[in-house]
Amino acid sequence: MDEELARAVKAVKAGIYWRLVGRWCVLTIASISFLVGVLLLLCRSFAENSYAGELLLGGIVVWLLLLVVGMCCYPKHLPSSESIIAWLDARSEGGGLMVAAAEEGASVWQARRSKISVPFIRWNTWGREMILAFCGGAFLLCAVFAPQKMREANMGKKILDIQDETHKIENQLEILENTLEVNSEKLKEMKDILADIQQYNDAGEASKTYEMLDLLQERIDREISEYFNETMEHVISSEKLAEALEKLSQLENHFEEVATASSEIAKFMAKLAEEDKELSALFKQLAETGDLPSLSSLENASPQNPLTPEQQKKLAEFLKKNADKIKEKLKQMAEQMKKNGCSSCENVSMASAEFDLKALEEWLVSNGGEECGSAFTIAMQCGGMTGGNGEAGRGRGDAPLEFTNTAKEVEHNVTDLGVDGMAKPDSTSVVKRTLVSPENVGDGDNAVKAGNLAGGNGKVKASSRPIHPQHRKEVENYFKK
């Protein structure tokens, strides 16, 4: 084979080879781009890390390997030199001289041979394959960059829209903090819980989130209720004491009772002052000015040195005013709390509004007149609210009421622990129950109560599975029907 022919054959082979390699290169780029892109997305979907760098590096390495493999393999796919020579001969109209030159040598005819025209090898489908590679590259770029944000959005937990609920609770906590003088540790704890709820708000566990919100709300309600109850006890005690004082002022020549009452009043006033700093300050101020007797004078009251009727009246007036002031304050707070979704505040305000002291007093007088013995006793009895476990109008109201630790109810085989008449009711007091407990539901009733639904027979429990706020209205409507 002469040099010119060899060169032409080499040129044809090189043309085909490099185009094949180029196409292989483009196709492998497209394939690996798609593959790496998919792997990247999968990693981002199911793994903690996207491994973008590692995957890209791996893709490049694989691509280079494939390129090398392609470059090694393609020479085997090239047409043989003989067929290329025949092809060139046919295309150049060489009259068989090129073929003959390759087969048996025709150097003497080289001068007469037609010029070899090396055809141009065209890669017809380059556009399609380039588009494929471009799409692969674009997909890879999207997988590398764009989905990072998508992943953050997708991988981040979906948040429930509990802004309304948390906002109301925040307001309630603020009111508690500013107004009700709740224990700062409790308040901090509740705030922490709220912060936790907001932080770990997860739509995937909506039930838990709402349950926590409900529990927090319950706790707030309980705190409010406790505070309201305590305050109301305070108010009621003040009012009853005032009335007792008024009645005492009308009793003449009962020096012994007045003296005894003065001692009790002093204790009571001391307790009130201890609970209410404002009242304490005011009381001291009035004592100094002489408008009210001092605590010491009260404690030292005796039949020889009783409180004067004027002093009794002034004291009663002071207590009443103070009670009214506290009631007004409670009312305002209850309204504020109601605005912020405090469910128990409605009951509180209603309870305070409906608490019929006169009816209670009459009832006590008619039922326990002799045992009470006097208006003072009645006052003490009402102020203490220590009798029985039932509420004021029912239960064991007729149980023997004693101011010692020896009170027993033999008939029912229940032993009551006697409490100080001035003792603050504990958290299990009747008043609290009246305020926070759901409506009365009989056994076996299917009912919707205070936003909770308990299916089947049985009582409704506050700890039952919560119904999400957005569903509560529909659930209520359903059961109303």
Partner: protein, 340 residues
């Protein structure tokens, strides 16, 4: 070993002179002259088809004179008998006075036989030429007699006036290397004919080929190289024209009843060698095959009724075949093509 240019030169010169002389004698038929010369160099028989008066007989006669070969003409008629062509044994008085059968050679015992209007003879008479054309011998009464070397049958037939004619059987047609169509000439050539030639008589050849020159031509023909690639192309062409064959193109399948025989491939290769010689090359090229393929194949392709209905001719089919069967096409990978 390939022929050198120097070795080829006399033969090339010789063929050129023959062609020039033929062109001088008969005006306006250069391509036919070339193909006839190719046929002669290939030792093939040629069937010339054309209207009366286009110069078929004149061409054959001139060729006979030029090649300095024994030339005989047989005018085929319906009552022509085989013995009129082949000859026969006749009873003659011998020198000793005894009667003996003596073979009297027919007109076929010549180097160049002009079978004029061959399709007018009966099939029996036409068939008498079968052995002579293929075996280049005649067998009569159990005695085989070789024909003179070289032996060519140059037949002519008239495509019109088909009444009372007998179409040449396929077997006999296949024995013709070429079937050439001799057409009329244009006005310019006609003008030259009527102005330069009295009564249209062609000029007589001024020279004749010497026997050694003719032998030299045939010897050169023997050394023309046919490469594998070209041979493969010839084979592919013939294979592609076989209806039902693996390599058959769609047109062949649709329009052909029968394809060419292997004799066609042989004829094509031989004709391509002669074409290469005329081109002055020691090797057969793909273009040589292409140049002779239509005339080798056209009378060997038997069209079916579909082709006749659609007025598809054999030559059209051959053209399609040459377009579709690429010579020495390398199989480029999918998605790649070549362009000059």
């Amino acid at each position: 070993m390939l022929l050198t240019p120097e070795e080829m030169a006399p033969s090339v010169e010789c063929t050129k002179r023959i062609l020039d002389e033929l062109d001088r004698i008969l005006l306006g038929h250069h391509d036919v002259h070339k193909l006839v010369l190719i046929g002669i160099l290939s030792k093939g028989h040629i069937l010339l088809e054309g209207l009366p008066g286009v110069g078929k007989t004149a061409l054959i006669k001139a060729l006979g004179v030029l090649l300095d070969l024994e030339f005989k003409r047989i005018q085929f008629t319906p009552d022509l008998l085989p013995s009129d062509i082949l000859g026969g044994s006749i009873l003659q008085m011998g020198a000793n006075g005894q009667r003996e059968l003596t073979f009297q050679p027919g007109a076929i015992f010549a180097n160049i036989v002009l079978a004029d209007e061959i399709n007018r003879a009966s099939p029996k008479t036409q068939a008498a030429m079968l052995e002579a054309m293929q075996e280049r011998s005649v067998t009569l009464l159990g005695v085989t007699r070789p024909l003179p070397e070289p032996f060519f049958v140059l037949a002519s037939q008239n495509p019109i006036e088909l009444e009372g004619t007998y179409p040449i059987p396929e077997a006999q047609l296949d024995r013709f290397m070429f079937k050439l169509e001799v057409s009329g000439v244009d006005a310019e050539v006609l003008t030259r004919i009527i102005t330069e030639r009295r009564r249209g008589e062609p000029p007589k050849p001024t020279w004749s080929l010497k026997k050694e020159e003719l032998d030299g031509l045939f010897a050169t023909m023997e050394r023309i190289s046919l490469s594998q690639a070209v041979a493969f192309y010839v084979s592919n062409l013939v294979a592609a024209s076989q209806p039902g064959g693996d390599g058959a193109i769609d047109e062949v399948t649709n329009y052909l009843a029968y394809g060419p025989s292997p004799r066609a491939a042989i004829a094509m290769a031989e004709a391509a060698r002669a074409a290469a010689l005329l081109a002055g090359r020691p090797t057969v090229g793909f273009e040589d095959v292409k140049s002779v393929a239509p005339w080798v194949l056209n009378h060997r392709l038997l069209l079916n009724y579909q082709a006749r209905l659609e007025k598809i001719t054999s030559l059209q089919l051959v053209e399609t075949l040459l377009e579709k069967v690429q010579p020495a096409d390398i199989k480029l990978p999918k998605g790649f093509s070549s362009e000059s």
